[in-house]
Symmetry: C2
Subunit: 193 residues, 2 copies
């Protein structure tokens, strides 16, 4: 089971950085140090391998988020919202390849023909947006976040903003770090009661 994990690991990097079609199984095998046939012994096809990568990505992201936010004390919903934003950016740096993968179009194209992809992507996004929503909901309860905003929709907008910044960082368009303080300020202004 050692080689299977190694294949998954290298495949994640290659799929995220080169794309699906531009990653050849031959190159993947060479970089992993296994024979080409080994890849097809463990995964039924290249697409099956990508699905396995996505499943592992979902497990890891969902796990990280749930562990970070369960049984955690926050002084207010607004503070929690800020920590969620912060943690999302932190995680996107820590798991750069996996977040890059999630921003690649081929996953969403494959979603249309292979429900496995759709299910995993939905799992991830639901988990993330739910946590944003929980923070806003809590803040509206304790009065730290304005009641004039729509809970779910503003969670989506907030998520969109943070995720957009991650995309710009991944595309080397501009430095996300330099925008961190401004982003936090904007979040606070958006949500504050």
């Amino acid at each position: 089971m050692k080689k299977k994990e190694a294949i998954l690991k290298v495949a994640t990097v290659l799929f995220a950085n080169k794309g699906f079609t531009d990653t050849s199984v031959q190159e993947l095998a060479r970089l992993t140090g296994v024979a080409e046939g080994t890849v097809f012994y463990h995964f039924k096809s290249k697409e099956g391998l990508l699905l396995a990568v996505l499943e592992q990505t979902r497990d890891e992201i969902v796990d990280q988020f749930e562990r970070f936010f369960e049984n955690r004390p926050f002084n207010s919903g607004l503070e929690m919202a800020e920590e969620v934003v912060s943690f999302y950016l932190y995680l996107a740096g820590l798991m750069e390849d996996k977040f890059l993968l999630l921003h690649r179009h081929f996953l969403y194209r494959l979603s249309e023909s292979n429900p496995g992809f759709r299910e995993n992507l939905e799992s991830i996004y639901n988990c993330l947006v739910d946590i944003f929503e929980r923070a806003i909901s809590m803040g509206q309860g304790d009065g730290s976040i304005s009641g004039e905003i729509h809970t779910r929709k503003s969670a989506l907008v907030l998520f969109t903003m943070v995720d957009g910044l991650v995309r710009f960082k991944n595309h080397n368009l501009y430095d996300a770090g330099a925008l961190f303080n401004e982003l936090m300020l904007m979040c606070r202004r958006m949500l504050q009661a």
Copy 2:
């Protein structure tokens, strides 16, 4: 010159929706109704064709934005900022393929080896962010937008947010239309003095 334009048009759709590698010149020629050799008569390579598509996209987007905002009267900078956001979303719907293309990773990968791609992408983003910045700057002058925010950085954050929403729409993750009002509210709250 009729066929050259036809090739560019079809190539835009294919590159945006299928990606660079997954678009074959054979298929492109068939859909355009020309011979494969004709594509290479007009463009020196597949990559050259993509660059031509990007150049046309830049011309069109920059032109649209500049024409929309030159000599236009706004009651306040805040109102202008709202109109910029609105117009960006409108244009992203009108030129769906071109905005989808701009969100595809292969452009940014090619940017690293071919400066032509980098230059065109920078032109587009500079043009867009500049207009956001102009609105904020104006608002800070007339008092409709808070002076506590950093002009350029908040323009980037604002752009990131709107562009992120377009990405979610293009990936069929959730309906951007349903979030429009919430997005505008959030923008106002972010910027308001």
